[in-house]
């Protein structure tokens, strides 16, 4: 099968392979990563036909160009020896107008040497006219360097030619999806909020949901809709819901005012893809059945700018009202147009598990759930992604992470393996995350907003005994039990640290 060299952006490296794999899924082709190190600026892949490469050029936001690979080596001698042995690959282009381009990664080759190098390819015997502008064929030589600081001209000349690999081939084309990050830039969007996802990340995330015409994709924390513009761009129908309808509508009020989300969608020419936007709390949702959504894509509010909320009253405060409240004038409070029901924080570990359970119910078999999970890097562990029967995580290597130092956000992609709809989740608070029951282990994203606000003070450093155990004798057995994962740090001190950071209620 033919080999191709992809020139790829070095941004968001851990999103690179998942993005390419998802594109191959959408269009139903096989892709094999041939390069030993798939995280360099040039990646060699194997696919069956050029058409597959064209899908990548059209969809992938990280690709710059693609080239059919004819020969490679660690030196020009090696490369040209290989090429001399298979000059017939150039036969079809023998009489075409052509040009040669020398490109390099992590380095800029001086113009003078570029000309020299290109002249050594005279042996290819091409008979067509050289045409620098709009040639019929473009042949490319890639020199692939290791990354190194070379800030002076001397330093640049010194390392010139000391590349690790060199490739030669015929250019297939340039990536066209990269411009989407400009055309969909948040700053130029007709409507956006302060938690809108940046366009590049939005498209990388969207790709994981396998968007395509005729698919239905849902965002249960839609906010101002930024997750949906990218999937709608690839032709999927979308539905969004949010507990806070003001986010979808925008500030303008009155009849015939178009919701903000639709104004932005109209800007991108995808308004007809937005089937509906609804105001409800996803934990108390009116959806009557499961098994009808192709993908759920969402960036749940995790509290850095806005925290997730659900209906109900905060524990320890006023109890939830069982009967409607009547004003002295005989009218009911909830019948007033300005009525907003009380809400309480939706803790992230509970939200994350509920989201996976919801996906298990709403998705069609093989449907995908895609979401960002923020986590405190120090505390992150493999087991933090809840295991739910009928759902399986898809990831490459350590997974896709955007690292911000002390914390990071992890792009989670899951696939529904179950073939039935199952039961809708109950959305009750999960006992395993309840601090009062003295949990043995808490995932790295538990109570994320509070930990963010406290500057990610460690859960494990405190040596003091657990105040929780003083208060609640029933949890003392946990103190004696061996800690689940974290070596010497006892569960008791975990609880104490939580108390210190204000996590314990």
């Amino acid at each position: 099968m033919p080999l191709y060299v992809l020139r790829l952006s070095l941004e968001h490296l851990s999103f690179r392979l998942p993005s390419l794999l998802s594109i191959s899924q959408v269009f139903g082709f096989k892709i094999k990563f041939v390069s030993e190190d798939p995280y360099r600026g040039l990646l060699v892949v194997e696919v069956a036909k050029e058409e597959d490469i064209n899908h990548i050029l059209e969809r992938d936001t990280l690709i710059q160009s693609a080239t059919e690979l004819y020969a490679q080596g660690t030196s020009y001698e090696e490369l040209q020896t290989e090429l001399r042995g298979k000059l017939d690959v150039l036969k079809p282009y023998e009489n075409s107008t052509f040009k040669f381009t020398l490109e390099s990664t992590n380095h800029r080759v001086p113009e003078s040497r570029a000309v020299e190098v290109i002249e050594t390819f005279e042996f290819t015997g091409l008979k067509g006219k050289i045409r620098l502008k709009d040639p019929e064929v473009e042949f490319v030589i890639f020199e692939d360097y290791d990354w190194e600081v070379a800030s002076t001209v001397d330093a640049r000349y010194e390392r010139d030619g000391k590349f690790k690999y060199v490739f030669f081939g015929r250019r297939i084309g340039f990536g066209t999806a990269r411009h989407l990050t400009l055309s969909h830039a948040v700053k130029d969007r007709a409507y956006y909020g302060n938690t809108a996802m940046d366009a590049l990340m939005g498209f990388l995330m969207a790709g994981q949901a396998l968007p395509a015409p005729g698919k239905l994709i849902y965002d249960p924390f839609v906010g101002t809709g930024s997750m949906l513009y990218a999937v709608a761009h690839w032709g999927a129908y979308v539905i969004g819901s949010d507990i806070d309808g003001r986010q979808m509508r925008g500030k303008m009020k009155g009849k015939n005012v178009r919701p903000g989300i639709l104004r932005a969608a109209a800007q991108y020419g995808t308004e007809d893809k937005f089937l509906d936007c609804l105001t409800y709390d996803v934990t108390r949702s009116p959806i009557r059945r499961g098994g009808w959504i192709d993908a759920i894509i969402t960036d749940p509010p995790y509290g850095v700018r806005a925290g997730a909320k659900r209906l109900g009253r905060k524990e320890g405060k006023k109890p939830q009202r069982e009967e409607p409240y009547m004003f002295p004038d005989g009218t009911y409070s909830h019948k007033r147009p300005e009525y907003l029901p009380p809400s309480r924080p939706y803790e992230l570990a509970n939200l994350c598990l509920d989201l996976i359970l919801l996906a298990r119910y709403l998705l069609v078999p093989k449907g995908r759930l895609v979401f960002f999970l923020p986590t405190v890097n120090e505390d992150w562990q493999e087991i933090d992604i809840p295991k739910v029967e009928g759902m399986r995580e898809l990831k490459v290597g350590e997974g896709s992470v955007q690292d911000f130092g002390k914390w990071g956000r992890r792009l989670i992609t899951m696939e529904k393996t179950a073939v039935d709809d199952g039961l809708p989740p109950t959305f009750e608070d999960h006992d395993e995350f309840d601090l009062k029951s003295g949990p043995e282990y808490l995932p790295g994203h538990h109570g994320f907003n509070k930990r963010y606000a406290s500057g990610f003070s460690s859960r494990h450093k405190s040596q003091t005994a657990s105040p929780a155990s003083d208060r609640d004798p029933s949890s003392s057995e946990h103190q004696a039990a061996p800690p689940a994962k974290n070596g010497l740090e006892a569960t008791a001190s975990l609880a104490a640290a939580l108390e210190k950071t204000g996590l314990a209620e």
Partner: protein
């Protein structure tokens, strides 16, 4: 918005309202027809997810009688086109959706329904 494809997926979810809570009944509606590009393959695939009787009753309540009473065994292209119109092109921009059982009213404004429950309607 509030297209019938979405409406067909929604039931009243007030605490303890579990019987006869679907479909929600439209009233005082402002109906707008917006032509949408056809994707009949999608309609065909979505068909088994729909509650046909609820869809036909709702469409008729809004004045569209293009769908047969019972779901045809073999659906024709014309029927798929009619379905596309009913599901994707009819938008309720203003009005109410009312539960036939408990009477809860879900108001729609600017095409967005407010389906938040009041405090006393939320289960625990």
């Amino acid at each position: 918005m509030v297209r019938l494809i979405t409406h067909n997926m929604l039931a009243c979810h007030v605490k303890n309202c579990t019987k006869d809570n679907f479909p929600l009944v439209f009233s005082e509606v402002e109906l707008v027809i917006r032509p949408a590009p056809e994707n009949l393959e999608f309609i065909q695939r979505f068909l088994p997810k729909l509650d046909w009787t609820a869809l036909v009753d709702t469409a008729r309540s809004l004045g569209d009688t293009s769908l047969p009473e019972t779901m045809p065994d073999q659906i024709t292209e014309d029927q798929l086109k009619a379905l596309h119109h009913v599901l994707m092109e009819m938008h309720i921009e203003e009005g109410n959706m009312t539960c036939r059982n408990c009477g809860h009213v879900y108001p729609i404004s600017n095409g967005i329904p407010n389906m938040l429950l009041a405090e006393h309607e939320v289960g625990r």
